[in-house]
Every structure is written in C-alpha cells, then in structure tokens.
C-alpha cells in the first residue's frame, strides 16, 4: 500500500507543460519567439511567470508594455484561481503543451483582477486559507498560529518548498479524534458551462448516522447535474488535479490529501468528450 503522504507529494509536484505565445496584435520590434515553461499546478499564474514577462518584454518597446494578462482560446485566465484548476476547467482533454496567449494591452477589467505585486497574491492566498479554516475549525487553528507560521505557508508555496509548507499546513489538516473529520469541508465546484463563478456550501464530512460522506454524496447534494442518472450516460467529468477520483472516495480524505495549498478542494465539472 502506498503511503498517503505520497499523494501530497504527487499533488504538490504536478506540472503542466505550457507554451506561451504573444498575442498577434501586440506591437514588437522583432519577432517574439514562443516561451515554454512547466507550470506548477498548485501555484498562481502571476506568481510563476516572471520569466515569461521578461522574455516578451525584450522584444517590445517600453511604451507598449502595461499589465500582463493571459488568455486561453478567448477566455481570460484568472490569476487568483490556482493554475491546475484553470487547466482542468478550460483545457482538459486538449493536446499538450497547453497553449496560452500573452497580452500586454486591453486588460479585461470585467473579467480579471489586477495583480500589481506579489503582495496581492499573498493576501488572496492567506484569505483563502483563513476562510477554509473558518469552515474546518471555526478559525481556531489559523488564529492560534503565529505570524511567522502564516509567512511560512506563503513562502513554502512561493518557493516551491514542500516540506516547509507542510510542516505548518499539517496543523490545518488535523481534527479532534472524536470528530472523525472537519466541521465542514472547504470546497468549490466550478462548471465550465455556467456563468456562476462557483458553488460553495456547508457540507459535513460525516453523515448524521456516522458513515463517511463521499465525493458522490457531495455532488448529489450540491450539484446533482454532475451525476449521471441511473442507467443513464455519464455526460460530465469530475476533475481534481487532472484526475477523476472515484465518486466513492470519502470527502474527508480528499479534503486532507487533494486540497490545493489554499486548503480548498477545487472541483471542476466539465463536459465528457464524445469520441
């Protein structure tokens, strides 16, 4: 049997091969070569693309450069969603490398948040962790931590240091033994086909009868359209970190092992490809 800790490593070190191309209408002084990068699934676009920005700025005049933003097949990519979620939601089942278009003009104010510095990413990341802990432990664990522990979570993510991050994050994954799980599971369900940003509700990991709730139970309760009708055809895929976990998987286990560093389970519901 594999150690469950291996799962944490596999999630942490998940990478997406990506090809960045400059948008055709951007004005350059010489030809802009595409730029290839392995993107960490658990990180944020604006946190790991300094090299991409430098690469394209080299061929552009200074006055043509303003805030960088990214797009995939016409969809502006939200930097405040983890990279793995963006890929699962918008680009699953397409050929690799993931082809992202880079823009420096016409920032889509309506769709994207500005990200002028890494402090903005840090603030967003910490707010997510705090919200997750409010659901899991009524904020008790995160509030008992010191400022330096909060910083260590962020630095662990920023510098891709698994041990550094998990030394602190494991405390956020604990619960009193008599409870058998968190108070509520921090999850968000995204659907490629709807306008709503995501579904988030209160959901307990343990049923009133004591049995463990599963991923299937969660979907049945908050997003029944994602589940195939009995004897019907499964028209959707339920993706976390690029895989389709079995619907029988206990949601508490998923929350502890497949959450992103922001402590949320980000679940994508996408149409199943027809082939």
């Amino acid at each position: 049997m594999t150690d469950d800790k291996d799962v944490l490593r596999d999630v942490w070190f998940g990478r997406i091969p990506t090809c960045f191309t400059l948008y055709q209408d951007e004005i350059t002084e010489r030809e802009a070569e595409p730029y290839y990068l392995l993107l960490p699934r658990i990180s944020y676009l604006t946190l790991v693309t300094d090299k991409v920005k430098k690469h394209f700025q080299k061929v552009m005049r200074q006055e043509e450069v303003s805030e960088i933003w990214f797009e995939y097949e016409g969809t502006p990519l939200k930097w405040h969603y983890p990279i793995g979620l963006l890929f699962d939601l918008h680009a699953s089942n397409t050929a690799l490398p993931w082809s992202i278009t880079v823009h420096f003009k016409n920032f889509p104010e309506k769709d994207l948040l500005h990200c002028h510095s890494k402090d903005v990413i840090e603030a967003h990341f910490m707010a997510c962790i705090k919200e997750a802990d409010a659901l899991k432990h009524k904020s008790q664990v995160i509030n008992e931590m010191q400022k330096k522990d909060h910083k260590q979570l962020w630095m662990g993510l920023q510098n891709d240091k698994f041990e550094q991050f998990w030394a602190i994050n494991r405390k956020l994954m604990e619960y009193p033994p008599e409870d058998n799980g968190f108070r509520y599971i921090p999850f968000r369900i995204y659907q490629a086909t709807t306008e709503r940003p995501f579904i988030q509700k209160l959901f307990r990991p343990i049923a009133s009868g004591g049995q463990l709730h599963t991923l299937g139970d969660l979907l049945k309760d908050v997003c029944p359209s994602a589940i195939a009708p009995e004897d019907g055809e499964q028209k959707t895929q339920v993706m976390i970190h690029g895989i389709e976990p079995m619907l029988e998987t206990p949601i508490q286990w998923l929350s502890e092992h497949m959450s992103y560093p922001d402590n949320f389970l980000h679940i994508s519901i996408i149409p199943r490809p027809t082939d």
């Binding site: 997510c128 409010a134 709503r196 940003p197 988030q200 307990r204 049923a207 309760d221």
Partner: protein, 131 residues
C-alpha cells in the same frame, strides 16, 4: 440524505441572495440612499422603510447584510443594506472579523456559509484590519 442546512427554504434564499446585486430585486433591495431610493419612495409614498424590509424578508428576495465600521473608518449613514452594489467600492471587507471573501464570491454563498439568524455580518474599513 440532505443536510438540514440545504433544506429547500435555505437553498431558495441562497439562490435569491446570489442575485441580490440587481437593484430590481425588491423595494428594499436598492441602495438606501441616492436617486434610486428616492424614485422608489416616490412611487410608493405610503410604504415605510421598515415594512419594505419585512416584505423582502418574507419574500426571501434578498439577504440582509449588516455592515460594521472598523477603527476610524467613517460610519456609513445606515448600517443595513439589502444590496451589495455599494460594497464593491470599499477597500477591505471582512467576514467573521477574520478573512476577506474571495473577489468573485457571491453574497448568497457567503450568507449560506457564514450567515446566521438571517444576517450576514461584514466588517469594512479603508485600510487592512485583519491580516
């Protein structure tokens, strides 16, 4: 199995709350000051504001959002809002005095997860209050 939290009544409220941003949600759903409100009052001069609020609660057309000023932030003229529109202009908003909600989180979702007694309490300020 259904959790007691997701009974149809609550669910209906949550969904309605998600659209609370639309000013047409109900008589009390607009901002409590400004032209929109005055026009509405002119249309229904006989209806006191309290009744309007009650009516909205009965119809479950919106979520009550209670805003509290933090530190030296000027206190808004009225603390009760049924609309989230004006909130967007504020710099820092906190739920449960601890975390800032996600930028694209719907008010209905916040209410479902962190509201109580029919109210969602949000603290606001001009500078960062809680790390």
């Amino acid at each position: 199995w259904r959790s007691p939290r997701s009974s149809p009544r609550r669910a209906a409220r949550g969904v309605a709350g998600a659209t609370a941003g639309r000013t047409g949600a109900g008589p009390a759903a607009g901002p409590p000051s400004g032209r929109g409100r005055q026009r509405r009052v002119a249309e229904q001069p006989e209806e006191p504001a309290g009744d309007a609020k009650k009516k909205v609660m009965e119809a479950r057309a919106s979520v009550d959002v209670l805003l509290k000023a933090v530190g030296d932030t000027p206190i808004m003229r009225t603390k009760k809002w049924a609309s989230f529109l004006k909130l967007m202009g504020l710099r820092f908003i906190y739920v449960n005095q601890s975390f800032a909600p996600s930028p694209d989180q719907e008010v209905g979702t916040l209410y479902e997860c962190f509201g109580s007694d029919g109210k969602l309490v949000l603290h606001y300020c001009k500078t960062q209050a809680w790390g």
